[in-house]
């Protein structure tokens, strides 16, 4: 400050007089600096929040359309000769026979009836491209559910292909030249015709929540990944919670203060900051290569994530246990409880809200974690839903990664939609943690 003073004020006058011109100028300058500095701080904060806004808005903007699907209403004639003899079979045989029926022909016939002037092979092919491959399955399911439909002509809302879907969501512009978009002018003309007939239906995409992954964006769903995440987190919770709470109890209540305990403590703090991918390498080397556990299984993922979240849970639990005042312990011991009884009957129940809060936050971290799961092979393309912890599975964030990497345009909105689901889960978990903290937190 001293050299500033010399700069501003001539040495003869000295900065003592508050009314002097030089002093006033200096005070003005100091306040200006104050204002600029404050604005800088606010600017930093607002920049951070603005990026948060941009991120969330982008995700929601691209993602909300992922919850909708486009369907094309077609009159499918289930003629007797396509299903010759099927009606006579019993239930199991009928399902087998229905598997072999060529549903593409049924769809093609229906489309050709709507567009009688389509003759050339290539045009028919382009026409068929409007309907998703999954539509064949939908017809089959319909007939399995109600075999009496055979021989009738039914009006069905069939799943449109991904290109059609994103065309109607406005993600493919009509203005760009035909060679640069995946949908031809001819196809657009057909779609306009269908649209004018009221045959284009946009509705809530239920299959997004009820099916597993698929190569076709319009059929891909997140249930498989969500189940995988659930099973993984279940294993993580079952392992990390008891072990974490136990070691927190030991370190806080029973550990003697010596170098050994110090070592454990430093170790836990360092483990909390080890990059998650290192835990993935550990899982790969130990669980897969040494113990020969199955690749891609939620069991291994859960074990790996449990080791990763353990430090978080231990640190949070220790803080919660430390917050219980010593008077509680003294009272229990004074009434004749043993140290173990004191801890398990009094300290632990009182610190449970804090421990649970920490655990939920750790679980939320584990839910969003991707890198360790890549290492242990939970990154495969898996259509079937996992039913147990030994089945091959993938997890929600890994599914997001896989879809984000996929070149198909239609997967972009699915990625954002899956991210929205993931963020909703995370907000729910964190909300639960905050609620627990506010409801049960005691100020001793």
């Amino acid at each position: 400050m001293t050299d500033q003073n010399q700069n501003i004020t001539p040495p003869t006058q000295g900065p003592t007089g508050w009314t002097s011109e030089a002093m006033q100028a200096r005070i003005r300058r100091r306040y200006r600096t104050e204002k600029i500095f404050k604005l800088m701080g606010l600017g930093g904060l607002l920049t951070a929040l603005a990026t948060l806004c941009i991120l969330l808005v982008t995700i929601f903007y691209t993602g909300t359309s992922g919850f909708q699907e486009t369907r094309i209403k077609l009159d499918i004639s289930l003629s007797e000769n396509a299903f010759a003899g099927v009606a006579a079979l019993d239930k199991a045989e009928r399902e087998e026979a229905l598997r072999k029926v060529n549903y593409s022909t049924l769809i093609r016939n229906s489309l050709l009836k709507t567009f009688p002037d389509v003759k050339k092979r290539r045009e028919v092919f382009a026409l068929m491209k409007l309907v998703s491959n999954g539509a064949r399955d939908e017809i089959r399911q319909k007939i399995i559910a109600d075999p009496s439909l055979i021989g009738k002509t039914i009006s069905l809302d069939l799943l449109a292909s991904s290109v059609v879907d994103i065309f109607f969501k406005g993600q493919i512009s009509r203005d760009i030249p035909q060679s640069n978009r995946k949908i031809s002018d001819q196809q657009i003309a057909w779609l306009d015709h269908l649209s004018a007939d009221g045959r284009i239906i946009r509705q809530f995409n239920r299959s997004f929540f009820t099916s597993g992954d698929s190569r076709e964006p319009e059929m891909a769903g997140i249930l498989g990944a969500a189940m995988g995440s659930f099973l993984t987190l279940l294993v993580t919770l079952l392992i990390a919670f008891p072990i974490g709470v136990s070691s927190a109890i030991y370190l806080e209540e029973f550990a003697p203060k010596n170098r050994w305990t110090d070592l454990i403590e430093i170790n836990i703090n360092n483990l909390a900051a080890v990059p998650s991918i290192i835990f993935g390498l550990l899982g790969l080397a130990i669980f897969l290569n040494v113990f020969n556990m199955p690749r891609s299984a939620p069991l291994v993922g859960g074990l790996t994530l449990a080791l990763m979240t353990l430090p978080t849970i231990i640190i949070a639990s220790r803080a919660a246990i430390r917050a219980v005042p010593p008077s509680i312990r003294q009272a229990a011991i004074g009434l004749g409880a043993s140290p173990i009884q004191t801890v398990f009957h009094h300290v632990l129940p009182l610190s449970m809200p804090g421990i649970l809060t920490g655990t939920i936050i750790g679980m939320a971290q584990a839910l969003g974690e991707t890198a360790p799961l890549l290492m242990i092979g939970m990154v495969a393309f898996i259509v079937d839903l996992p039913h147990g912890v030994m089945d091959a599975a993938t997890a929600l964030p890994v599914q997001i990664f896989l879809w984000a990497d996929s070149p198909e345009r239609g997967f972009m909105e699915k990625t954002s939609a899956a991210i929205i689901v993931l963020i909703v889960f995370l907000i729910m978990m964190n909300g639960l943690a905050i609620w627990l903290r506010q409801k049960f937190e005691k100020n001793w």
Binding site: E34, G44, L52, S247, I264, P275, I278, L281, G368, L426
Partner: protein, 460 residues
């Protein structure tokens, strides 16, 4: 019988022995439990534990050693046909036999011999499992009988029980140490095997990274080069960009929140920043690839700059956004723990808030702030998903942030996902990179934690 059933049976036995232990203890003093050394439930728990322990031990032994035993028996049965196979072919054969028995995909056609081996495999693993479960159940019954038999009013069951609980608590806290040992040993072990293929100096000082090794010896062009310098340089470049973004923004917001913001504003801004911290990194990666990278490329081409679509700049900026909350919350803690007396002294001398912050608070909080930077740097170095999704794959030794670079974590992921060959230098190099990553982050964390501790002691 599956493992689950076995666990249920053992659990039932333990529950029964709890009930009988409880009953026996009460009956031994004719219902007057004041005469017992411990509470009746302590006797119950003790007998349940004693019935559980041997069964658990048997199952653990089975779990750890049965794969090895099965493999040896299998090898013994295959004896004459496998003597001339290399270890790699042998492990492939064993894997195929295992997969065939599970009904999974194979790397070869199913031969009669393979089918026989698979059947044999199923048979011996079944038998060993049956033997182990039978042993577990018998031991469980036996020990539970013995425990209940031993119960008398003088038995110090509470002391035994509490000693057991204390030991288990200790065992749980040792798991954290075991994790570290597991990390270090697995990384070190694989790295040593990697160094058999590639000398250490080539790995640390080599300037060329192209891990594609020739599958056949007559293939040309892909001999494999494992010089990690380009990866380290790429990692540092992206980390540097990230810190360049995150440090000013994070520090500014921490200063604003602690010194200028009202309590109400603080209670709004802090949770918002926590949301930023809670967003999964895969979301940031998607954001980087979807929004930031195209934006930088387009704005670069507008002013005539050639920007790679997977530029280091995009990955670095998004990673910077990711670590803003880390820096701001750590600095926040540090700044608010500067004693009020220092502020009051400065105000008393007529300093403005800004002058107090710049000349008093920041200098005294400096160690803590530096440690926040170190933790943030370690976080950025180890961050994986953002760079996997937004940075390049090709190793590129450059300091130009507009070009694509690759990082250590990207290469680990690239080397270990997809089809792996066991024991190839390519796969093992991932572990060497992992070890380097672990050591660097460990050193950064260690210094940072030490600094924070020293700093806290200063004002306590």
């Amino acid at each position: 019988m599956s493992i689950l059933n076995l666990l249920v049976i053992i659990g039932i036995i333990a529950a029964i022995s709890y009930v009988f232990g409880h009953k026996k203890a009460t009956a031994s003093v004719k219902g007057d439990i004041r005469l017992l050394h411990s509470l009746p439930s302590h006797y119950g728990w003790l007998s349940a534990l004693i019935s559980l322990a041997p069964a658990m031990l048997v199952m653990l032994t089975w779990f750890l050693f049965s794969p090895q035993i099965i493999e040896n028996l299998l090898l013994a049965s295959l004896n004459d046909s496998v003597t001339d196979l290399t270890p790699f072919e042998l492990s492939l054969l064993l894997r195929d036999i295992h997969n065939l028995s599970q009904g999974d995909a194979l790397s070869r056609a199913v031969s009669v011999q393979l089918q026989q081996s698979a059947d044999y495999y199923v048979m011996i693993s079944d038998r060993i499992f049956w033997a182990a479960s039978l042993l577990a159940v018998c031991l469980s019954c036996l020990f539970s009988y013995l425990a209940i038999h031993k119960i008398s009013p003088q038995l110090k069951s509470r002391n035994y029980l509490e000693k057991f609980i204390l030991r288990s608590l200790l065992a749980c806290s040792i798991i954290a140490i075991l994790t570290t040992i597991g990390i270090v040993s697995s990384l070190l072990f694989e790295t040593i095997r990697f160094l058999d293929h590639v000398p250490l100096s080539d790995f640390i000082f080599g300037l060329k990274w192209s891990p594609q090794t020739a599958l056949r010896s007559d293939q040309v062009g892909s001999t494999g080069a494992f010089g990690a310098i380009p990866l380290f340089a790429g990692t540092l470049l992206i980390t540097f960009i990230a810190l360049l973004i995150a440090v000013p923004i994070g520090l500014c917001s921490a200063i604003y929140m602690t010194e200028f913001a009202s309590k109400k504003a603080r209670s709004i801004f802090k949770p918002l920043l926590e949301i930023l911290a809670g967003i999964p990194t895969v979301v940031y990666g998607f954001f980087a690839a979807l929004v930031v990278a195209p934006f930088i490329r387009d704005s670069g081409s507008m002013i005539g700059l050639e920007v790679a679509s997977e530029s280091a700049l995009a990955a670095g900026i998004v990673m910077g956004i990711m670590i803003i909350p880390l820096i701001s919350s750590l600095s926040d803690d540090v700044i608010s723990s500067v004693p009020q007396s220092l502020r009051d002294g400065s105000f008393g001398l007529g300093a403005t808030k800004t002058e107090t912050i710049l000349h008093v608070i920041l200098p005294s909080a400096l160690p803590g702030i530096v440690s926040a930077f170190l933790l943030a740097a370690s976080r950025a170095i180890g961050e994986t998903m953002i760079v996997v999704m937004a940075a390049g794959m090709a190793a590129n030794l450059t300091a130009n942030p507009l070009e694509a670079v690759t990082t250590v974590t990207v290469q680990i992921v690239a080397l270990l996902t997809g089809d792996q060959e066991f024991d190839s230098a390519k796969t093992l190099s991932a572990f060497a990179l992992g070890l380097a990553l672990f050591i660097v982050t460990l050193i950064l964390n260690f210094i940072a934690l030490r600094m924070v501790r020293k700093y806290q002691e200063q004002y306590d």
